[in-house]
């Protein structure tokens, strides 16, 4: 059922509360989890409800905390860690890659590692080089990990519960600009099975996107429909495993593909998808496949330098028009006054 009234952050909160209630052993920790801001509101009241033993704040020790989660998990305690920015998790790559991802396989399946690592991706308002990176490809490259990245509040809830009860380590990516959004702002109706990534049908182009960018994709679709371009929007939701057969089916129909990616280009999710399409279809598409990613540049902090950095629906529209060799009056498409905030309600500083 689609509860369109709940925003993304409340969905996360509700998924955590549901899971903590369902599994009395489960624990959940991260910097600031109990503080007045409760990780952008996502962990509000959890420690009040479930006790400081199960929901607790921690020292700034990302690497040990990840290993501690592995230790708790292999002894039967499902654990959720939260990083306020994905970038901080780089300190724990040894534990993620050499322990969490391998503790099952390397010991012949004797144990499993039910941990979920929530990582929040920054964008805008001077997040700068070390508070804005989507390094999903690093995690996808590692056998033994799963990587989820939902867009809609409804999926977020379902997927976070799924992650927590998955016996394997899951990297759960949340885009900072989604937390305040409700599904009703974007969706009329939505398929309610997780495996169904095709969230809006079309015949002319397969537009594949992830997380926040799916909202820009849907906006672009609306605009392009006016000139008769019908876009099929695929929301990835799960980066690893990838539902590649859905994607291939869609492309066989549309014969055109454009991918929107919040990460850096080299070795990106979009490169992986394009290579899979190529290997599987080995065919000439109606137009060359395109991926829009962040440029291969550390993100600068200045408002002025991020002006044209982010992928938004206008960039998508322009790219599609080029693919179709069409034009339309773009003057009417107004950019928001400030490109660096998720909405006028955001006044900084974080």
């Amino acid at each position: 059922m689609l509860k369109k009234k709940m925003n993304f952050k409340d969905s996360i909160n509700s998924a955590l509360a549901f899971s903590l209630k369902k599994d009395k052993n489960m624990i959940c920790y991260g910097l600031g989890i109990n503080d007045p801001k409760s990780i952008f509101g996502t962990t509000k009241n959890l420690s009040k409800k479930f006790g400081q033993n199960r929901v607790f704040d921690v020292p700034t020790s990302e690497n040990a905390l990840t290993g501690i989660a592995v230790g708790a998990a292999i002894s039967g305690i499902r654990t959720v860690i939260t990083h306020q920015r994905l970038d901080f998790s780089l300190l724990s790559m040894d534990q993620i890659v050499n322990s969490a991802a391998k503790w099952r396989y390397m010991f012949g399946g004797k144990l499993s590692v039910p941990i979920t690592i929530r990582m929040i991706l920054g964008r805008g308002w001077g997040q700068g080089p070390t508070h804005s990176q989507n390094l999903a490809p690093m995690f996808c490259n590692i056998p033994g990990l799963k990587v989820f990245m939902p867009t809609f509040a409804d999926d977020a809830k379902r997927l976070l519960i799924k992650s927590i009860f998955d016996p394997n380590p899951v990297i759960f990516l949340e885009h900072r600009w989604l937390h305040e959004l409700k599904d009703e702002d974007f969706l009329d109706k939505k398929p309610d099975s997780l495996s169904s990534n095709i969230i809006s049908k079309g015949s002319d182009l397969t537009l594949i996107s992830m997380s926040y960018l799916t909202l820009e994709a849907l906006k672009a679709k609306k605009i392009l429909k006016k000139i008769g371009i019908n876009i099929e929007v695929v929301d990835l939701i799960s980066l690893k495993p990838l539902n590649i057969s859905k994607i291939l089916k869609s492309i066989k129909k549309t014969n055109r593909v454009l991918i929107l990616d919040t990460g850096f280009p080299y070795g990106s999710i979009s490169s992986e998808i394009l290579s899979l399409i190529y290997k599987n279809l080995n065919g000439k598409l109606k137009t060359s496949p395109i991926s829009l990613t962040m440029p291969d540049i550390p993100e600068p902090t200045s408002f002025f330098l991020t002006k044209n950095l982010y992928i938004d629906h206008i960039k998508v529209v322009k790219t599609v028009l080029k693919m179709f060799k069409k034009s339309m009056n773009l003057k009417k498409l107004k950019k928001p006054e400030f490109h660096d905030v998720p909405g006028t309600w955001f006044k900084g500083p974080f």
Binding site: D35, P59, T60, E62, N63, W125, G126, F303, P349
Partner: protein, 318 residues
């Protein structure tokens, strides 16, 4: 008491306070579009530092670098411009408030990742030793950084290699909203801990600028003489929220009586009270200078040109 030094310390503390307050005031106009971590309440440490540090000494800092940068002699106009994201910013707009640099005075950068610059400052100290310099490398961080493993790795390396590193911890009791009890063992003495790892430590009332001055001086002497690293811990307190331009005492994460007792220990007020009436005249002059300096810096920043869009692609590789 050297009165000349006192005026210098006053000048720096007051300047630092007023710079931060001005940033807080202007922040609501939403032209400084990056997170800012103000050091109001913690001025004494950097003011004292400014009177000891030499130009050829190195320094690095954390997410709260404004006063370390200024204490090292960093250019105020370029710092404010950086926070405004302007081309004239000390990091050309690319770094923002958390990433300040002024290579002309050997302030070698600051990092938004907790403890990230500690090994970098350690590497700078190694480089001083390799080059046979008499200088030292100052490494600024908060007590939250003591929770990162890389701190211990760096201290251990500095001790093994006997390099001129001065580790400077400003312990303001909080990491964001989280108090020490959730993060560090009760009753731990960080200085004892670091001494047990292998290097000399000094602790200090971080709100008494004169004591801070004496400790920095001691540390410098020690490092020069012994050719070994040292760890300094200053106890202090921030008056504003962790990040942003407001006070947030309404959120109640810090006990009221704790806040009040620290407000009574305001480093600037207490130091100012020491001046006699005879000195007040001189202080007025200094205050005016300060106001002018700040006004100029903000005007400079506001008037400065934006970076060009093409600057985005500059300086990725050398």
């Amino acid at each position: 008491m050297n009165s000349n030094l006192n005026f210098k310390l006053y000048y720096k503390m007051k300047l630092f306070r007023e710079v931060e307050l001005k940033i807080a005031m202007e922040y609501s106009s939403r032209k400084m579009r990056c997170p800012v971590h103000l050091s109001v309440g913690q001025e004494a440490v950097s003011a004292a530092f400014s009177q000891i540090v030499r130009k050829n000494d190195y320094a690095v800092s954390s997410h709260r670098p404004h006063l370390h940068y200024l204490g090292k002699g960093g250019n105020l106009k370029r710092m404010i411009s950086e926070i405004y994201g302007k081309k004239t910013g000390c990091s050309s707009g690319k770094g923002g408030s958390m990433h300040l640099i002024d290579t002309s005075v050997n302030f070698m950068g600051s990092s938004a990742i907790v403890a990230n610059s500690i090994p970098i400052g350690t590497g700078l100290a190694l480089s001083l030793k390799l080059k046979n310099k008499i200088n030292v490398s100052y490494i600024f961080f908060g007590e939250g950084a003591l929770e990162q493993g890389v701190f211990y790795e760096s201290v251990n390396f500095a001790a093994v290699k006997k390099i001129p590193a001065i580790f400077v911890c400003e312990n303001n009791l909080y990491s964001v909203y989280t108090s020490l009890k959730d993060r560090q063992p009760e009753k731990r003495k960080n200085s004892k801990m670091v001494e047990a790892i292998g290097i000399k430590s000094f602790t200090c009332n971080g709100n008494n600028v004169f004591e801070c001055y004496k400790i920095f001086n001691k540390a410098k002497q020690y490092v020069s003489k012994e050719k070994k690293p040292v760890f300094l811990e200053f106890f202090t307190y921030r008056h504003y929220e962790h990040c942003g331009p407001n006070k947030d005492d309404n959120l109640n994460y810090r006990p009221k009586n704790e806040i009040n007792s620290w407000l009574k220990k305001d480093p600037l007020k207490n130091f100012t009270n020491n001046f006699t009436n005879a000195h007040k005249q001189k202080i007025k002059i200094l205050d005016k200078e300060i106001q002018k300096k700040i006004k100029d810096a903000f005007e400079y920043a506001k008037k400065s040109p934006k970076p060009k869009l093409s600057d985005l692609r500059k300086d990725i590789y050398a």
